[in-house]
Symmetry: C2
Subunit: 106 residues, 2 copies
């Protein structure tokens, strides 16, 4: 399977995106710790983490019997750069900054 296909397939599942949210909030967690945040068996979570790791969205490091998981932002940025050039980026960020500002002020 092509590299980018692995990334997009990995992002296509809501549980996996939630795992990325968890790791974005705090890195270096174990499978068991992440498992407690999802309503799913350990096996399901392990499968999802494996998909994320094979896509390069999550990087791991072993520490004894534990496996620590870290978020890797590089593939996300590459998605961005595929369809948003520097010129367009200025417009889009300005638009979204305005949107966020308006949503914060009631």
């Amino acid at each position: 399977m092509a590299d980018d296909d692995l990334v997009f397939k990995a992002l296509a599942d809501p549980s996996r995106r939630f795992l990325l949210d968890l790791l974005h909030a705090r890195d270096g967690r174990t499978l068991t710790e992440l498992e407690s945040e999802l309503e799913m068996t350990r096996f399901g979570v392990a499968k999802h983490l494996k998909v994320l790791e094979e896509a390069g969205l999550v990087v791991t490091r072993r520490s004894g019997r534990e496996k620590l998981h870290f978020l890797n932002p590089v593939p996300i940025r590459q998605i961005h750069d595929r369809w948003i050039d520097k010129y367009t980026e200025r417009h889009v960020t300005a638009l979204l900054d305005l949107k966020n500002a308006l949503e914060e002020e009631p």
Copy 2:
């Protein structure tokens, strides 16, 4: 289905990503024109375009019997912002700029 789920599901298919590539290169194309670029029947392409449109990745405008398709970069940028904060962005862009520079110079 949740908004972000539609976007990620839409991006999960290589044919749909190729359609976005085509629209990124040149906007405002019709179904028939896009169809000629894929090795697939018109019905398949139409289905993919519908998925992209429902996800908000493609915006359309009718002109007589033709339907013109345009790329909308906003959802892409929102994916980016979900997992890459301003601080991380500086590091990642610097890293990727370096990578691209090295690949261009042999």
